[in-house]
Every structure is written in structure tokens, then in C-alpha cells.
């Protein structure tokens, strides 16, 4: 199994090097004539208004938080799914209980209006 991960490690390294090749080639071949107008930030063709920092909507954070809880839940379900065949029927009910507790959480967040994008 360790050779598997060695393969994936080498894959990652080569996978990062291969896209860099056309970038380097482009750096060698393409013209470079910077001037202040070209380097300015794009805003639909007009001058920029205000900083390049926007008021960040708090709702993004709420969605990321709910996603985190459900991500951990589904990751816990993978070992459960793999041992379904070997063990008797009530094992399924244990998993259903696990899912039901978290569905209750989702319903709570829904009722509290946390899933609205206002």
C-alpha cells in the first residue's frame, strides 16, 4: 500500500510541474510592455471606486459552518457503509440513528432561518 501512496506523491509533484511548463514558455515568448493603465484593476472599463475590499456577507460563514458539521458526519458514515455486509441488520439502524440526529440539526437550522440567503 505504501507504493500506492508513493505513486500518488510523485503524481502530485509531476502534476504541479506539467502546468508550469507552458507558463514558463509563455514567460519566455510573450511580450512584456507594462504601463500603469494596463496594470490597473479591472472594473468594467471605468476607474475603480473604493478599496478592493468588500463587506463580506456573514451568511457565507454560516453556510461553511453547516457544511463542516455535515462533512464530518458523512465522513463518519464511510466506515459504517463498509461494514454493513459483515454485521447483522441492527447495524443499519445504528447508522440511521446517526443520520436522524443530524437531520434534526438540519431541520433546526432550517426553522431558525439559517439557510436563507438574505
Amino acid at each position: 500500500m505504501q507504493t500506492n501512496w508513493l505513486y500518488i506523491g510523485i503524481f502530485l509533484v509531476v502534476g504541479i510541474i506539467v502546468p508550469i511548463v507552458p507558463l514558463v514558455f509563455s514567460r519566455l515568448v510573450a511580450p512584456r510592455k507594462p504601463n500603469p493603465i494596463k496594470l490597473s484593476t479591472y472594473e468594467c472599463g471605468i476607474e475603480t471606486v473604493g478599496d478592493s475590499w468588500v463587506q463580506f456577507k456573514a451568511q457565507y460563514y454560516i453556510f461553511a459552518l453547516i457544511f463542516l458539521v455535515f462533512d464530518v458526519e458523512t465522513v463518519f458514515l464511510f466506515p459504517w457503509a463498509l461494514s454493513l455486509r459483515q454485521l447483522p441488520l441492527f447495524v443499519v439502524l445504528e447508522g440511521v440513528l446517526f443520520i436522524a440526529i443530524l437531520v434534526a440539526g438540519l431541520v433546526y437550522a432550517w426553522r431558525k432561518g439559517m439557510l436563507e440567503w438574505v
Binding site: 500500500m1 500506492n4 508513493l6 505513486y7 500518488i8 510523485i10 503524481f11 509531476v14 502534476g15 504541479i16 506539467v18 502546468p19 508550469i20 507552458p22 507558463l23 509563455s26 515568448v29 510573450a30 511580450p31 512584456r32 510592455k33 507594462p34 500603469p36 494596463k38 496594470l39 490597473s40 484593476t41 479591472y42 472594473e43 473604493g50 478599496d51 478592493s52 475590499w53 468588500v54 463580506f56 456577507k57 453556510f63 461553511a64 457544511f67 455535515f70 462533512d71 458523512t74 465522513v75 458514515l77 464511510f78 457503509a81 463498509l82 454493513l84 455486509r85 441488520l89 443499519v92 447508522g95 440511521v96 443520520i99 437531520v103 438540519l106 439557510l115 436563507e116 440567503w117 438574505v118
Partner: protein, 405 residues
């Protein structure tokens, strides 16, 4: 073993004897063989990516009742090469105030997160990168790296529209990962393994798309959202925020983002084929009949896999060019209030049935699973209909004169 039956092992064995004959140690030989194999696979993936540009432009043209590129080369086949040359020689404008290192890291990470998926893609029973025993979660992990690349690219551009586009895109991708991971549990339960090779072998009797059509549909929808393609393409909504998180990217860096998105779509088409349509196999037992034993040949299997992956990619393109864009709040409401509960219900149903139906003969098992999915689908449609009726009635009560007109 003949080259035709087992190409990779044959070549690897030949190289090993050759390199050991030169006196290199065994570990180093392994690493060299790996590097050569990986380079070949990645170059194959990038060459395929170039042809996908041509496929995409021809297909979108046909959907829009026009011809597409047909001037450069026969049927416009040389067009992608012209595109690449154009992108390479364009000036690379790094905006003032952009974070140099992160700005360059964004596109590289975006395409690297797609390329590493090719390590586990089973092209055939004997042609693949590795047979990882956690391949299904590896798919999700590569998606996580892709999400990170979008934030890096959007933030490093020092542009408020890029940042807005990146935030919306990440909120979208991250939300749709939940139904995707839940639905990925279903082939795991049905095949009793997380390895893509085992899942493909388990489908030699019956495709998982027939055992669980709802799982396939939910996976298709979440995959399209993960890819950031229409109708979920708010990050590059051309009419809204110009080009989203890659506004400030020019030349080959933009080319890498674009090529990465196309390759990602094709790779997901490949995974749809593997997880739900039998991958390189799935001939319903036909290959066991003596006449059809050539179906077991690795090269035939690779061609079958590529055809199925191209079909999956075509379905993704079909959805893209037929549907209007969905608003961000509708997108997120659709995910959290509809797809996630539905995915969990289908998961519970599959888990329970996989234990209850274990005594029945094969056709009983298949019919039981299939009809349970149909029943869940019908109940869902009825719930949606009742909800729609209730909403229409509430709206009619609010505007009585409008309802009378």
C-alpha cells in the same frame, strides 16, 4: 503475459529488467518506472484536454444551431492548437497590487487538483494508475484542493469582483459537496468497497444506475455544481460579474483555468461512468459467453471506458447549453432544503434494502432496489406539488385582483 493482455505490467517488467541490468537499485528503478508512467498518463490527459476544447466548441455550436469552428484544418480540428498558440504568446498582465506568489499559484493548483484525479481513474482492468482502497474519498479530497485554488486565485487578484466571484463559487461548491459525498456512499454500500476497481467489477451484473437511479441523478446535479458549470456557473457569470474569480488572469494562466475546467468536466464524466454505468466493464455478463471474450481485453475496455466518459461529458454539456443560470439563493436553497434530505433518504433506503433483500435471487434484488427508488421519486414529486399548490394559493390570497384577471 502478452503485451495485449496486460500492457502496463509487461512494459514495467521489461523496463525493470533493463534498468536493473544497468546496475540501479530496486527502489530507484521503481521510482523511475513510476515517473515515466505518470508522465505518459498526464500527457495523455493533457492531449485529451486539448481535443476537449474542440469537442466543446463543436457541441455548443450544434446546440445553438450553427457550425462552430470549421476553417482551420478539416472540421476545425486544428483549432485548439491555434488557441493554445494564441494564449501562449499573449502578454501576461499581472495587476498592480496582486499578491505575486498566490497569483501564480492559483491556476497551477486549479489544474493540478484535476490532474491528480487521473491517478485513480480506471481506464481498464489492467490500465490504471493505482488501485487505491479509499478512491471514493480521494475524489472528494481533490475537490477540496480545487476549492482552495479558487479562493487563492480570487483573493490574489486584488479585485473586488474577483473576490465576490470566488466567495460565491466556494459557497456553492462547498454546499453541493454534501449531497455528492452522501450519494458516493451508495456505490460504496452496493459494492462493499471504496475502491473504484471493486466498484467496476461489482457492476458486471447490473449497472448501479439501474439499481439506484436517484443516486445517479443526485450525483449528476452535484457534480455539475462542483464543476461550476451552468446552470450553477455564478462564478463566471458573463453577464453579471464579467469573468468572476479569473477576471485578472490573462494569457496562459487563464488558459490553465479554462483547460482545467474542461478536463474536470471530462474526469467527472469518467467517474459517473465508473460509479454508475459500469466503467470499463458492465456488459451484463455478456463477456462470459465464449464469443464475446474479447470484451475482456484491456484495450477494448479502455475504449469502452472512454466512450462512456465522453457520453457522461456530453450529458454535462447538454445540461449546460440548455438551461438558464440559477440565482445564488435558489441554488443554495435547492441544495440544503431539497438535495441533502433527498440524498439522505435515498442512502437510508439503500442501506436498509441492501440488508433486507439479501436472500432474494438477483432479479428480485434489482427490481426491489429500482422500485424503491421510483417510489421515493414519486413521493418527492407529490410533496413538491403540494408545496407548489400551497404557495400558489397563498399568493392568490395576497393578490385577489391579480388572481381574478
Amino acid at each position: 503475459m502478452l503485451f495485449l493482455n496486460d500492457p502496463i505490467t509487461f512494459i514495467a517488467g521489461w523496463m525493470r529488467t533493463l534498468l536493473s541490468g544497468w546496475g540501479l537499485s530496486s527502489g530507484l528503478v521503481t521510482v523511475i518506472i513510476y515517473i515515466l508512467g505518470i508522465t505518459v498518463l498526464i500527457i495523455f490527459a493533457m492531449a485529451l484536454d486539448i481535443m476537449l476544447v474542440w469537442v466543446e466548441r463543436k457541441v455548443v455550436a450544434r446546440f445553438q444551431d450553427r457550425l462552430g469552428p470549421n476553417r482551420i484544418g478539416p472540421f476545425g480540428l486544428i483549432q485548439p492548437f491555434a488557441d493554445i498558440i494564441k494564449l501562449v504568446i499573449k502578454e501576461d498582465i499581472t495587476p498592480a497590487g496582486a499578491d505575486k506568489l498566490l497569483y501564480n499559484l492559483g491556476p497551477v493548483l486549479a489544474i493540478a487538483s484535476v490532474i491528480i484525479l487521473w491517478a485513480i481513474l480506471p481506464l481498464s482492468s489492467r490500465i490504471f494508475g493505482v488501485d487505491l482502497n479509499v478512491a471514493v474519498l480521494y475524489l472528494v479530497a481533490a475537490g477540496a484542493l480545487g476549492t482552495l485554488s479558487i479562493i487563492v486565485g480570487g483573493w490574489a487578484s486584488n479585485n473586488k469582483y474577483a473576490l465576490l466571484g470566488a466567495f460565491r463559487m466556494v459557497a456553492n461548491m462547498v454546499s453541493y459537496e454534501i449531497p455528492m459525498v452522501v450519494v458516493l456512499l451508495i456505490p460504496t454500500i452496493l459494492a462493499n468497497s471504496m475502491s473504484v476497481q471493486d466498484i467496476t467489477v461489482a457492476q458486471s451484473g447490473m449497472w448501479f444506475a439501474i439499481l439506484s437511479p436517484l443516486a445517479f441523478i443526485i450525483f449528476l446535479i452535484s457534480a455539475i455544481a462542483e464543476l461550476g458549470r451552468s446552470p450553477f456557473d455564478l462564478n463566471e457569470a458573463e453577464s453579471e460579474i464579467v469573468a468572476g474569480f479569473h477576471i485578472e488572469y490573462t494569457g496562459m494562466k487563464f488558459g490553465l483555468f479554462y483547460a482545467g475546467e474542461l478536463l474536470h468536466a471530462f474526469t467527472f464524466g469518467g467517474f459517473i461512468a465508473v460509479l454508475f454505468f459500469g466503467g470499463y466493464g458492465g456488459f451484463f455478463g455478456l463477456e462470459n459467453i465464449g464469443f464475446f471474450s474479447w470484451l475482456n481485453n484491456p484495450f477494448v475496455q479502455a475504449v469502452v471506458f472512454l466512450v462512456k466518459a465522453m457520453f457522461g461529458y456530453w450529458v454535462i454539456m447538454w445540461v449546460k447549453y440548455s438551461m438558464p443560470r440559477i440565482r445564488i439563493d435558489h441554488m443554495l436553497a435547492f441544495n440544503w432544503k431539497f438535495l441533502t434530505p433527498l440524498a439522505l433518504v435515498v442512502l437510508v433506503n439503500t442501506a436498509v434494502l441492501s440488508k433486507v433483500l439479501i436472500g432474494l435471487p438477483n432479479w428480485g434484488y434489482v427490481l426491489g432496489m429500482f422500485f424503491s427508488n421510483i417510489v421515493i421519486g414519486l413521493i418527492t414529486v407529490e410533496i413538491l406539488r403540494a408545496y407548489g399548490r400551497k404557495q400558489r394559493k397563498a399568493e392568490a390570497n395576497l393578490n385577489p385582483q391579480r388572481a381574478q384577471n
